[in-house]
Amino acid sequence: MNSRRQLLKGVATATVLPILPAAPVLDPEQSKLVAALVDLIIPRTDTPGAVDAGVPAYVNRHLENNPAQQPRFGAGLRAVDEQSHLQFKQPFAGLRPEQQTAILQSMSDRKDPFFKFIKDLTIDGYYSSREGLAQELGWQGQSMLPEFKGCTHPEHKG
């Protein structure tokens, strides 16, 4: 989990982004695959999911800003499709949900580094979006308040 220092670093790197969004890093096929993956990681339930929250664009942007990670990311996507062909003779994006879940589950179980990478990006993107942070988690921070009540539960005091 991030230390304060790492969070600060995050802010620092966010500040050197290029001014205009560059051409998408991911081609249409890769984009489809990314959308399928992030939506399996954080699906739509009674609240929006990762795709609703724009996580695919977030992932694309992250790769734009960190070109050194692109080759490994591309290789990770290819490996997912290879696994899918091996197991189900189809590209991942075309599989049935339970087949997709099975592949992801095995990646999760064997602590696959690419799975960890895209999951972490999904967490970053989703829980910093309005949908993920405010709607799903109920964050109400960064408001200007006349007073801070803090804990008002006598039972917490003990």
């Binding site: 989990m1 991030n2 230390s3 304060r4 220092r5 969070l7 600060l8 802010v11 620092a12 966010a14 500040t15 982004l17 001014i19 205009l20 969004p21 399996l40 990681i41 954080i42 699906p43 339930t45 999911g49 942007r61 879940t101 992801l104 999760s108 999951k119 972490d120 967490i123 970053d124 829980y127 910093s128 979006s129 309005r130 993920g132 942070l133 799903e136 988690l137 109920g138 964050w139 109400q140 921070g141 960064q142 408001s143 200007m144 308040l145 006349p146 007073e147 801070f148 009540k149 803090g150 804990c151 539960h153 039972e155 917490h156 005091k157 003990g158």
Partner: protein, 548 residues
């Protein structure tokens, strides 16, 4: 390039305008002394702060070509180096107010446990002062800047009569407090330099939680607004912005006579002259300047014939442990921002329980990041994916408690800053090399720190987020560097007297954290402010008496 030399002789030149330099400038100008401040950056404009920009608005703004203020120095602009196997993270803010623009505001008094610790355990030199020497200055600093806190008072964390009301604890903090009490550990109200009510005409905090991005209403202390601005109003202060000091100059008798600096933008070299020089560029930058100030009178760097400057670098060991308290799991998230950062603190207690320990010194604990945050980084440490995972994140989100123990690192002669044979910066000035290792003492202390953090979470019946026992943050992460120009009674073993005045070069003062002989487990800024106030009272008196 031609060197631009100013013929004016200033009473006092101060390098840096953070906590240390800002205090020196404020206290001297109000006593009628003419001061020139050289600052490596410029003022951070409040109107340009992104304090109230929501997380999802950042990208939109960046796409529009807007940028938040660049507080931190990019090491590509101003590099430093370290030994390969011992990385050191150096966080620098260059500009008026320095790191106080974004600091964590934890403001803790040191006690005699700290000042006299070395005398008791025999490790390195003690502070040349006692609590009673500094406590009047703590009183004054707290009244000036506004520090909220409780009414507790203990040997390792002396109390104060001047605290502003402490903010109410959050639910998670309250539960931790209860749990800690159950295992005999007392958590007290945090002490933070945040205005929980109007203070000296300044508006109080509005609990937006944005402090780390800079406070657009100055409801927490920063040197620029609280010290430099009033000093400027006296008409006695001149500030030269973007003046990167390289060396303290000296006259043939070896006394400080001025400062050489480079314009940050143009690179043009300048010199300014002064009767007194105060170095306050923050520990590592100050040390670099002193060591680079070589002359025939001071071949080892100014005021360093005893080879003390640069040595004894000490900081703190720190790690993070997280848990989820059951009472809050699955509840609706509250607005937990408060004054941002923790509202509680665990003072050091390990010297009290009579138990024999196999290490020296001690540790305290902070709790920033407890409760509902503007992110959910903890989710990265949870297994799985899918709807269950998503529910699990939501359930835990309001229940997060964060523990950050800080332990003292002993001062060691070979933990040091040097400039010998290092690469040069863009102005041709040798950069600092940092050599820094922790040892057995810290390893053993960290063991106990893990035990205590773990026990506290267990007592709270918390689900503990998986952690790697023994792991500590990379050196420098605590951002509390000390020791490299330490004060002491013995001029052979220290560089400064208790008034931050060089033993060797009487008109040279070093008033930042470099002057601390030990790091303690506490955050230093309140003490930096108190010491700089005390030092400049002494300096002003010496000037009035005609001795300086």
């Amino acid at each position: 390039m031609q060197i631009q030399k100013s013929a004016v002789v200033h009473d006092v030149i101060i390098i840096g305008s953070g906590a240390a330099g800002g205090m020196a400038a404020w206290n001297l100008t109000r006593q009628g002394v003419n001061v020139l401040v050289l600052d490596a950056g410029s003022k951070f404009r409040k109107s340009a702060f992104w304090s109230h920009v929501k997380p999802w608005e950042w990208q939109v703004r960046l796409d529009r070509g807007q940028r938040p203020p660049q507080f931190y120095v990019d090491p590509r602009e101003q590099p430093y180096t370290f030994t390969k196997d011992q990385p050191f993270d150096l966080m620098r803010v260059w500009g008026r107010g320095g790191k106080t623009n974004v600091w964590g505001r934890v403001s803790l008094r040191y006690g005699d446990v700290d000042f006299q610790g070395p005398a008791r355990d025999g490790w390195e030199i003690p502070w040349p002062m006692r609590y009673k020497d500094i406590s009047p200055y703590y009183d004054k600093v707290e009244q000036l800047i506004g520090v909220c806190g409780g009414d507790d008072d203990q040997d390792s964390l002396p109390g104060s009569r001047y605290h502003l009301p402490p903010p109410a604890p959050r639910c998670g903090e309250q539960l931790l407090r209860k749990a800690a009490r159950g295992i005999g550990i007392s958590l007290v109200a945090g002490r933070r330099a945040v205005l929980t009510k109007e203070h000296n005409g300044r508006a109080p905090c509005h609990y937006c939680g944005a402090c780390g991005k800079g406070c657009d209403i100055s409801a927490f202390f920063n040197s620029s607004d609280y010290l430099l601005e009033p000093a400027l109003r006296t008409g006695k202060l001149t500030v030269i912005d973007n003046a990167v000091a390289a060396r303290v100059l000296n006259n043939p008798e070896g006394r400080a006579s001025g400062v050489q600096y480079f314009d940050r933008a143009s690179g043009a070299e300048h010199t300014v002259r002064g009767r007194i020089v105060i170095v306050a560029a923050s520990c590592i930058d100050s040390t670099r300047i002193l060591l680079n100030s070589k002359s025939s009178q001071h071949p080892n760097g100014i005021a360093n014939s005893n080879d003390v400057i640069g040595r004894y670098l000490c900081e703190q060991v720190r790690f993070h442990m997280y848990g989820f308290v059951p009472e809050l799991a699955g509840t609706a998230a509250l607005n937990d921002d408060g004054i941002s950062g923790e509202h509680i603190y665990m003072p050091r207690y390990n010297h009290r329980d009579g138990r024999k320990r196999d290490y020296l010194r001690g540790f305290g604990m902070q709790f920033w990041g407890s409760g509902a945050q503007s992110q959910a980084q903890f989710a990265k440490s949870l297994d799985g994916f899918g709807a269950d995972f998503k529910r699990g994140v939501k359930r835990r989100y309001p229940a997060l408690v964060a523990l950050h123990p800080y332990g003292e690192v002993l001062p060691r002669r070979d933990n040091r800053v040097t400039v010998e044979g290092t690469p040069k910066d863009r102005y041709g000035v040798p950069i600092a090399k940092i050599e820094y290792k922790t040892g057995e003492n810290e390893r053993k202390m960290v063991e106990e720190m893990y035990d205590v953090a773990d026990a506290m979470l267990r007592a709270a019946k918390a689900e503990i987020l998986p952690y790697r026992r023994g792991h500590v943050d990379v050196a420098g992460s605590a951002i509390h560097e000390h020791g490299t120009c330490r004060m002491g009674e013995d001029p052979k073993r220290s560089a400064l007297n208790s008034f931050c005045q060089s033993h060797e070069v009487k008109n040279l003062f070093v008033v930042d954290g470099a002057a601390f002989p030990t790091a303690t487990e506490k955050n230093p800024t309140l003490t930096i402010l108190a010491l700089a106030w005390r030092a400049t009272d002494h300096l002003a008196a010496e000037m009035r008496a005609g001795r300086l």
